[in-house]
Structures are given as C-alpha cells and as structure tokens.
C-alpha cells in the first residue's frame, strides 16, 4: 500500500514546484496556476508524510527481530523474511484468517439482510411510525462505540444481566447464570449482536433514502403489468438500487473485517485467544506479547487483504462517480 499511496500522492505535490499545469478554465483564469496546488499542499503533505511514514515503518519493522529485549536495548536486528515465513507457516495464522473471514461473512450477511428489510419497511410506514423507527435507529447509530460495548457487557453480564434474566424467565433455566464470555461461540454471539445493532441503522437509513429517489412511475407501470410485491422488488427496486447494494456491502465488509474495539473490549480475544480476528491477533501478538516484528508482519498481511477489498470497493464507487471526478 505504501508504495502506491506515496507514488500517487507525490505526483500532485511534486508538480507544485514545476508549475507545469495547464491553464485553468472559466473563473479560475485570473488566479495563478499554482493556486490549486498551494491549496491542496497541506492536506497532501500531511497525509503522504505521516501515513507514508507509518506504512514504511510498518514494512521495516516486519523485517526485524524486535522483541522485548531488542526494544529495551534499542538494537535493530534484521532477519529478512523470517517473520513472514514464520507467520505463514504457522497454523495459528491460517486459523485466525479463516475465523476472520467467517466472522465477517456472517456479520455482513446479517447486517445487509436486516438493514435492507428495515429500509424497505421504512418506505412502507406511515409518517408517525416511520419517525419513531428512525429515532430508534438514529439513537443506536449515534451511540459511541466504546459506550455501546460497555453497555453490551452489562446486558450480557453473567450475574444480574438482563439477557440472562429474560432467557431464564422464558423457561431456558440453564441460562440464568450463563457466562457469555466463557466460550468461543457465545463470545462471538455477543460481538455479532453488538455489531449488527450498530451497523444496521446506516444500511437501513441509507437504503430508505435511496428508495425515495426511485421514480413513482416505475412502480405504477409495474402495478399496471400486474406485478406483485416480490416482482416489484426484483424488477424495479433491486435493479435501481444495485449500485447502492454493492457499495454498501463492500463498505460493511471492510468495516467489519477491521473492527477492533468491539472484539477487543468484549473479551480481549479470549477465551484462550479463540475470538481473535486478524486486527486483534496482530495487536495481541505485537503489543501484548511484545513480538513487535511479528505483529508488524501480521499487520502487513492484514493490510494486503484489506487493500484488495478496498481497491475493489473504490472501483465500484469510482464507476458511479466517473463524471464527478
């Protein structure tokens, strides 16, 4: 990522000096050629320098043997690709990767299905019920991540947690004092409920906003042709919102794949490191276990995966915004 980012960003910045830009059109004729470059200079320099430096540093670290001892002595030991061969040869890495992929797939599927259903429901509601549901969605959306995570710990608390109480009341008595963070599956369950609760409002509200842009005539025409609810969805709503579906799904994939705070705070990747996803794995390996070089190598591998996803997402978005760029 570093190479691409830098190369692409260096271009506008380097041109500032040469001043070889074509004459600007229209209004900007009176202003000098250098003006746009001067305006973007602070943003470009700041982003390229700091982000680029972090990326380069990340790359360098991943080729070093850097543990607690080297950190304290401030020595640099280059070990070539050892961190990568170690990581890739380690079964643990592949298990975590597979876990992250399944985790992301399940969460994104839930978020998209629930979000889209709620979005379509919003479009059908009367004014007052719609406002009510929107209020609920906005409150959940606005809830800060750290506060929400703490609240979910309380909801799912072993003793006096309201979820266990309700399950017990409903007749599932073995859940009365259930420890949600004691198992891999149950910990993931709590994280999933939290992530879905937090992510659905974005999808639902945006989908609803998008449906309001569909011309009514299309539905009238479909109704004249005798199309039912499902047929109207597949022949009008879905084709119209297709770009939206793609873009949102990808955005959710990226967001969920790299979510750190929720996964980490709920159970710190436990029990027995069984709920570590890739970002948490890199963090625990690098910071907690103080294998900084190893952590950096894992983070580079994670960034590569995310970069592939992001590139695809940006292609989708850019196709839609071609005329605007």
């Amino acid at each position: 990522m570093s190479a691409q980012t830098e190369e692409a960003a260096a271009r506008p910045a380097s041109r500032t000096g040469k001043g070889g830009a074509p004459p600007a059109s229209g209004v900007s004729q009176r202003t000098g050629r250098a003006v746009p470059y001067l305006l973007i200079l602070p943003a470009a320099v700041f982003t390229v320098l700091l982000l680029g430096w972090i990326m380069v540093q990340n790359g360098l670290l991943s080729f070093q043997n850097l543990n607690r001892r080297q950190l304290i002595r401030r020595t640099t030991e280059w070990i070539g690709f050892d961190n990568y061969t170690d990581t890739l040869g380690h079964e643990e890495f592949w298990r975590v990767t597979l876990r992250s992929v399944v985790f992301t797939a399940v969460n994104v599927a839930l978020v998209m299905v629930v979000g889209c259903l709620i979005g379509l429901l919003l479009a059908r509601l009367g004014k007052r019920t719609r406002l009510l549901l929107l209020l609920g969605l906005v409150l959940a959306w606005a809830m800060p991540v750290v506060a929400a995570t703490t609240v979910f710990q309380w909801l799912f608390a072993q003793r006096f947690g309201v979820v266990n109480h309700v399950l017990d009341q409903l007749g599932w008595h073995s859940m009365a004092e259930y420890n949600w963070t004691s198992g891999q599956f149950s910990t993931f369950f709590v994280i999933t409920v939290l992530l879905v609760w937090q992510s659905v409002p974005f999808v639902a509200i945006n989908l609803y906003a998008a449906t309001t842009t569909i011309p009514k005539e299309l539905y009238e025409a479909a109704a004249l042709d005798g199309a039912g609810v499902w047929k109207r969805f597949t022949s009008v709503t879905f084709p119209f919102l297709k770009p939206f579906f793609y873009a949102t799904t990808f955005l959710e994939v990226i967001w969920i794949f790299k979510s750190f705070t929720q996964v980490f705070v709920i159970n710190e990747g436990g029990p027995d490191r069984l709920t570590e996803t890739l970002p948490v794995y890199a963090f625990v390996e690098g910071m907690n276990n103080q294998h900084f070089g190893m952590g950096a190598a894992i983070s580079i591998l994670t960034i590569l995966i995310l970069l592939a996803l992001t590139a695809y997402y940006l292609r989708l978005v850019l196709k839609q915004e071609e005329d605007e760029l």
Binding site: I40, A142, H165
Partner: protein, 276 residues
Amino acid sequence: MKRSLIGRIWPGATAVVLFLGFVFPVYWMFATAFKANKDIVGDDPVWFPTSPTLEHFEKAVDAEGFWTFVANSFITTAVAVLLSLVIALLASFAIARMRFRGRRSFILVMMMAQMAPWEVMVIAYYMMVRDADMLNSLAPLIAIYTLMVLPFTVLTLRGYVAAVPKELEESAMVDGCTRGQAFRKVIFPLLAPGLMATSLFGFITVWNEFPYVLILSKDPSAQTLPLWLTGFRTTFGDDWGATMAASSLFAVPILILFVFLQRKAVGGLTSGAVKG
C-alpha cells in the same frame, strides 16, 4: 387496493417492536445509571428506575483523574477536528472548483487514506512515537487523529463546496471582490452547515478512538475518556451502576450532537454514498 387488517397493521407493529429493540440498550444504560444499587443487583430486574438517584454519577465523576480525562478528550478532539477542517477546506475548495492536473490522483489518495486500516497500524506508530520519546503526551495522538479524520473531511466538504452555486462567487467577483474575499464573504457563510455536519463525524471518530490511546498513553495524565470507560469495570469491580453512569456521561455529548445534526449528517452521508 384492499388489504386485510393484519396486512394493514403489521408494518406499524413491526416498526414498534424494532424501535424497542434498537432503543433498549440506550435506555438500559440510562436506566441503570439512575437506579439505586439494590434495584440493579436484585433477583428481578427493575424495568424503570422508581427511586432515581445520582449517586452513581457522583461516583463516576469523583473517580480519580476524571477531569484530566475529560480535558484530554476535549483537547484532542477539538484540536484534531479544527486542524483537519482548516486543512480540508483549502483542499476541498481546490478540488471542487478548479481543474488541474493531478486532481484526480489527489482525490484517489484521499479515498485510499479514508479507508486506511488504522486499527492495524498501531504497532508501527507506537515505534515511531517511542523513538521520538513522545509517549504519554497528547501531541502524537492529535497528529494521528487529524490524519484519521482529514480524508473524510476533504471528501465531504468537496460536496458542500460544489453545492454552492458558482454564480454567487462569480457575481461577487464581478462586483470587485478578490477570489479570497468572495470565498470569505459569500461561500463561507453558506458552507457553515456543511462544516458543522462534517465536524460532527470527525468529533465522533476522535471521541471514540481507542486502540491508539490504549498503547500510546500508559500514563493517566495523557489518557482520554475511552480508556477511563473501558478500565472502569476493573477499577470498580463490576459496579454496573457507576459504569453505566460513566457510559452515559461519555455518550451524552455525542447523542445530543447527533440527534440535532442528524438530518444534515444523513444527507451528507447519503450524497456521498448513493448515486443511483
């Protein structure tokens, strides 16, 4: 169109159920924060705080270093958001109003940077800050937070700048304003709502940021509220009343801002996300 009774009622009924589901965690946070201890740790949960008390809030506020965390959170958030707004305003004006070579690349870089996985780059940043001997200070936090919110701010402001009719600017310049004056007197006032909505998202991002402050600030003097909140349970040993009071204090500024600016905020987001 004829519909049965159930057919007419179910959307509304589902909406109410969903509303309750989405609101419950937020409600439960506030409810617990106001409940007396005996109502929190009883065999049967008390659904409404019947005898509200402020003791949990007092406990949360009296926790050691609380005001330092508050000050740190406000300083890092305000400085990072303002800094990125100023830098972004310049850049967004250039990309919204001017044609120049490299413009497309610049926008692409901003889009890439917006998607940068900050969560995975903590180790490298930690090493940089450590090498510069700047651990446990606010400056490196402010720098990384500014970097985090800058791309989003640039891209969103671009839309708001582009939405201000060019003619306004042109007529101001015909009337003798310089380009700078036209910007200050005509465009800037029209941009104010956009600036507010954009800064809201920057505010939320920085206010919430957890992994960087977790590793950069081991010393309480440079910690922010997210650390205080996540460490609260350990410090106070499952005192859920106080923990929920702390969560409420943490969430309220954001909830208020968000609900007030919701319309513009959602509008701004959708204008970027939806191009049907």
